[in-house]
Symmetry: C2
């Protein structure tokens, strides 16, 4: 009995946590329902002022880490609407054009006729949607006539852009394998059952790398690169403030893997609504490049078929979701300390790097000095300003949105040109010279280097 009770409490506190996060997101402008004044649009979410900053910071950290800081990866920004042949050739048009039922538990779809029992073979639940002819591609029409000839699709993943543009990127960047192509962008999937806040939405944003390697001669040729990426993804989760102990590497068994994948790791995170896939890593062999290039598109000294013969490089694909990153970051950062709610975001991810307060707003000397500091700092960083209510309330308000430092200009400032700097996590205060503030803040909130 005791055990059940603990478990229930745990479940309750988790569902509590989710409610608190959703409420905070809405109340403070991180995330709110899309088109809310029209009753919303099933599982569509808009990112408000603070959410937009958090997303930008995640994307910039990622781009800086993988494109700018690395020699072997270049960026790409392909169109969302590509030639429909891309999706025919990749298998997307055909693969999902089937009568499918979807498990209401784990959201996997199955061919009903091929199922041996009424239970989901993956999660064991027995509840399914009605069978439907279903393709997860969002369809649209280009031009003035709505027919098969004009049909196009919204990309369901950014990945195919990197494969289709492989040769152009190769020719213009003069890279040689191993090298990667990175892309950040929106993708769309017509999911039957989206849900869990921003976890599963029909419109979402991906950060993906296609990392091309020579044709492996022995297994370890690809396994070694795979392992490096596996470690790198743990390192990334740490960089965004997720305790790596909360990540479980789930090696997807062969029966559940896409047929072209020789190995897939799902990085599982314990969300309040259960353990779910946060990121993914897959060795996709040469399946994709062979789909798009009838002739081998690449040649170098590593050619498996002779020094001057072209070949199809293999590919390892790490994938990150921006929206899932936001959600996991919020879950990890959300902290209660008595009455105080603190969002312990990594400083470089925080929407505001610091907040500046005049102790009182009706003293021109103090307000003017605070304004001056505010104007100096926001030349480089996103900085908040607050002159309402008392200092305690202002701290509370900044803690809740994760602002790492609060700077208060008071009477002493006018005498010795120092300010109070209060750190979010410790709530400790220290006096800092105004002239030293840019360096003090800058050295504490910058990107990792």
């Amino acid at each position: 009995m005791q055990k059940v009770k603990i478990k229930m409490t745990d479940q309750n506190s988790k569902s509590d946590l989710m409610e608190k996060i959703i409420s905070l997101c809405k109340r403070r402008g991180f995330v709110f329902p899309g088109s809310e004044i029209y009753g919303g649009l099933a599982n569509s979410w808009d990112y408000g002022p603070l959410g937009a900053e958090l997303r930008n910071n995640i994307k910039q950290l990622w781009w800086n880490r993988y494109v700018h800081r690395r020699d072997d990866i270049v960026g790409l920004e392909a169109a969302i609407i590509m030639n429909p042949k891309v999706w025919e050739q990749s298998g997307h048009v055909a693969t999902f054009n089937d009568l499918l039922i979807e498990c209401k538990g784990c959201h996997q779809r199955f061919d009903q006729e091929k199922m041996e029992s009424g239970k989901c073979p993956l999660c064991g639940k027995e509840k399914f949607t009605e069978p439907k002819l279903f393709n997860t591609l969002f369809k649209t029409f280009i031009g003035t006539v709505e027919d098969a000839k004009s049909t196009a699709y919204l990309r369901p993943e950014t990945a195919q852009g990197m494969f289709v543009d492989f040769k152009q990127v190769l020719d213009t960047s003069r890279k040689t394998v191993p090298f990667g192509i990175a892309q950040i962008g929106k993708a769309f999937r017509n999911e039957i059952t989206p849900g869990n806040f921003i976890f599963r939405t029909r419109e979402f944003e991906q950060m993906e790398i296609e990392y091309f390697i020579p044709v492996p001669k022995i297994e370890s040729d690809w396994q070694d690169v795979f392992e490096i990426w596996r470690k790198e993804m743990h390192s990334w989760t740490e960089a965004i403030g997720i305790n790596t102990e909360h990540i479980r590497d789930y090696e997807v068994p062969e029966t559940e893997r896409a047929h072209y994948s020789k190995k897939t790791i799902d990085f599982m995170y314990e969300f309040p609504f259960g353990e779910k896939e946060l990121y993914g890593l897959a060795y996709r062999t040469d399946f994709d490049l062979k789909n798009h290039f009838p002739e081998p598109p690449y040649r170098d000294n590593h050619s498996p078929v002779g020094e001057h013969e072209s070949y199809w490089p293999h590919v390892i694909e790490p994938t990150w979701g921006v929206d899932r990153s936001v959600l996991a970051i919020l879950c990890e950062a959300y902290t209660e300390d008595g009455d105080r709610v603190v969002l312990k975001l990594k400083p470089y991810l925080a929407p505001y790097k610091a907040a500046v307060f005049p102790l009182v707003s009706n003293k021109p000397d103090i307000a003017g000095k605070a304004r001056e500091i505010y104007d100096t700092l926001r030349k480089k960083y996103a900085i908040a300003w607050d002159d309402r209510g008392n200092i305690g309330k202002r701290y509370y308000s900044q803690d809740e949105i994760g602002t790492p430092y609060c700077i208060t200009v008071d009477y002493q400032t006018l005498e010795d040109d120092t300010v109070t700097v209060r750190a979010r996590d410790s709530a400790q205060q220290e006096r800092i010279k105004v002239t030293e503030l840019p360096e003090y803040i800058g050295s504490r909130v910058g990107m990792l280097s």
Copy 2:
């Protein structure tokens, strides 16, 4: 005769310029045709490694300038697929559902029956598309059934997100008018005749601000804000390297304005293919908020109907296209100096802030030192590396993509720890101490402050 000849030469050199820019973009990986291996997709373009960097730099400059650096503007990131009622209420669903012909010269669409002559009333051309029932909204379907009930649209502008989310942004950011909401994002228009490279595409990216003001009591109340924004847009074009003398403010006459706009300025830029709209600025009155809010959504001391009565703020809307910015920037920056092609990009917009070369690649001391400098600098900036061919060719290659500084490590470096730094525009070289490089480069390539 002389005059005609000059004009023709001028036309030829302009079409030459466009071809040279398109060729450079393709050759060096700024922009190439989307889905090219499948024969492309009419006027769809992908941004390669350098184009992706340039776009990111433009967007970051804009976000920093208008969101971080300003007190009175906050960011937003609304979904691309919104509730279809948004587009019914905004007028988009109804407005374009008409039998239209489109002028092949200026791309304006007209109701054929209402035309008084066979000539386009705007540009005077006489070539039109066949009349078609046409709505520029891209249609898609949410869920498993393709019918009217499941129909949704890809947003044709980011603007409606700011109107629909007006109250949520207001409540969470606690702003008071005048204040603005800024958004960067993709939009889609099913244009009949896209064209001119990346100038007019069906998928494009906008940077928009909806700047809300109190209900004007006298004309100058909105005119003054409008003028401030007009000047600000000139200042922006200067910041991205466009000679303001190349911009012409075209005040759109009443007969051509949207019915709800009391004043519209099109900022015209002399592209190689003719003078076209680069950016726009419109006073949209309270049309949009009234469309979406049956009840007035805002209250403050400026209320025109009594201190405690709510009202609909008016709005001034400056709009920038990311893709058109890229094109205008490239047109302005493209320079020929004898054999040398130089892309004179503003340093903070350049894809690479600097390039590092070892004078020779087969001397470990020199290569190692160059590598060390490269690794240090790219912790903060996008930096290129080149050790192929001779130094002259490397300069040529970096000039062509707009890299502002080339740093060469040579034999002297090993003796006195200095390097050669060559400036792109002047081609002048100077010796700089290695220890001073981060400050030297940093102070020259950072964002405007």
